[in-house]
């Protein structure tokens, strides 16, 4: 122990001039730490930053034979083509409609649900409700889509007849375009609403119970307690989630929509990600698909930075 310290001291004394050697000393002392970092670092470099460099594809006429280094550089050709594509407006509109439903209809629900769960008095009942509500989150989209397909199937769906009676005509939820946003949002609500409460409930465990006691002494009723104590306690969490949600504004649950798309509802269901897949993987236009993907990623980045900026300006804590 003391010998090791002495050795280090002599090294430092011998080389106290260079900054480089200080780095070397620190590296030698913690080399195992850097070794442990290696897998994670490689992962982020190869699979996260690698594709970012690969975005060069969007400015090339990518040819799989020639690769990134041999393909011809064509500048903004694919972007210009995308903005002229009649599909562009359609995709943009579909995405906006779904994102609008997501933020206006879905986003407030977990907050309300969390406030209601928070008001439950019996501990056991509360735990039971929470366990049941979290469950759908763990079910795959394939299963959710499968259940929906069988329930609303035109041939023998259990809910097809019920809806038919309600609307007075045969309703085809899976293929009629007007039902698509409702179907998608409904699935999101069923699957994620309960799970969405967990972060708010976690934030609420940190609230000082004395605040409620004091409010009661002051004569606040339960509504006032909720409005003035509980809600402000989760305000920061709500804003953080809203910022993140804005960032994923154009990331309309891809796998979910991919599973619910069919030839009948494609005109209202096609969104950025599904169109990228369709263009690049099905039709083989790799560069065009990358360009659409890049456009979407940039808009997302701008949105999240913008929302974060506004949140910070209005005195809230941002995400970063």
């Amino acid at each position: 122990m003391s010998g090791k310290k002495k050795k280090e001291a002599t090294i430092i004394a011998g080389n106290n001039a260079g900054g480089m050697t200080k780095v070397m000393i620190r590296f030698r002392k913690d080399w195992l730490l850097y070794l442990m970092l290696l897998p994670g670092l490689l992962y982020f470099l190869i699979f996260k930053y690698g594709p970012m460099l690969g975005l060069i594809t969007a400015f090339q006429d990518y040819n799989a034979m020639l690769g990134w280094f041999g393909s011809k550089f064509v500048g903004l050709k694919h972007f210009k083509r995308f903005f002229m594509d009649p599909k562009f407006f359609q995709i943009f509109r579909n995405t906006l409609v779904l994102a609008f439903f997501n933020i206006v209809v879905y986003f407030p629900l977990p907050i309300i649900l969390a406030l209601l769960i928070n008001e439950l008095k019996f501990r056991k009942y509360k735990n039971l409700v929470q366990s049941v509500l979290y469950l759908p989150h763990f079910i795959s989209w394939v299963v959710v889509a499968g259940i929906c397909t069988t329930l609303f199937s035109a041939e023998n769906g259990a809910l097809t007849e019920a809806l038919g009676g309600l609307f007075g005509r045969e309703v085809r939820v899976l293929s009629e375009s007007s039902f698509f946003p409702g179907l998608i949002t409904g699935q999101v609500i069923w699957k994620e609403c309960g799970w969405g409460t967990i972060i708010f409930l976690a934030a609420l465990t940190g609230v000082d119970m004395q605040l409620y006691e004091a409010a009661k002494v002051d004569g606040a009723n339960r509504w006032q307690q909720m409005w003035n104590i509980t809600l402000p306690a989760i305000k920061a969490t709500i804003i953080t989630l809203l910022i993140l949600r804005m960032g994923s504004f154009l990331n309309t649950g891809f796998e979910q929509i991919f599973l619910m798309l069919n030839s009948m509802n494609r005109d209202v269901g096609e969104v950025f990600d599904t169109y990228v897949y369709q263009t690049a993987m099905t039709n083989g236009k790799i560069s065009y698909g990358s360009a659409i993907g890049l456009f979407k990623s940039v808009v997302c980045l701008v949105l999240v930075m913008g929302t974060n900026h506004i949140a910070k300006k209005s005195g809230e804590e941002g995400v970063y």
Binding site: L33, V142, A145, C300
Partner: protein, 295 residues
Amino acid sequence: MKQKKIKQSAASRVFDAANVLLLGGVSLICLVPFLYVISASLSPLSDILSRKFFIYPKHIDLTAYKYLLTSNTLLKAMGNSVIITAVGTFLSMTVTVMTAYVLSKPQLMGRRVLNAMVVFTMLFSGGMIPTYLVVSGMKLTDTWWSLWLPGCVSAYNMILIRTSISSLPSELEEAAVIDGCNHFQCFYKIVLPLIKPTLATFALFYAVGYWNDYFNSVLYINDSTKYPIQIWLRNIVMLSSGGFADASSVSDLGYVPPQNISYAVIVFATMPILCMYPFVQKFFTKGMMVGSVKG
């Protein structure tokens, strides 16, 4: 505690009762689809066609399950999914927790840059196609590595685990270092045992992610002998509801599968999660708490 409940207004009691009922109703909405599918999978086909069941079957008929258990492709797909999930979860947890541990160390050179690098990947990504090109460039397509590697570390999970490691008192590790532990021993013997609830939570998240993943397999796996259960399920559901699907991957059934079979496959594909859920569920709130505390 008792004397605090002196007075409760009538309105307050009405609210409590209504709240209990409302949340009970919401819980039912979450459960009914499960009960419906399970009872459908146990009903004879004639009951399904005439809809003589709802959340419990009128007659029990195990034909669907008998068919499935003799189907080699189903058992193969289940086996594939088990391997994909087990290996994937192990890989993801190892790399994520190790990276989180290192990035929580104040003496790490370039720590701020590295953390910023991780956060940036949450805000901006190369997207589907460039990622596909990287994966196929590494010749990983049609191997399970293409399911394990591209999503190996979730930046979000890594940051939450890092926060929970940072919240441990540093004296513990200092003491271990004095006793002669190196960084890896500290990590393995001191840190890991202390964050067990967090580890259980995130291992479950990764496992569920691998088990439920559908799109990565669509993108990277073409060889039908390597399909996971979710793709198999998708094909069965599409075939039995009259849609188009790759029939060859489920072909050893030899005919268009009737509806009760697709219900039974849904049960198969969901069962492992439902079985695991009660054991890990109690850790959620604890494991997620670290997320609400900003670090």
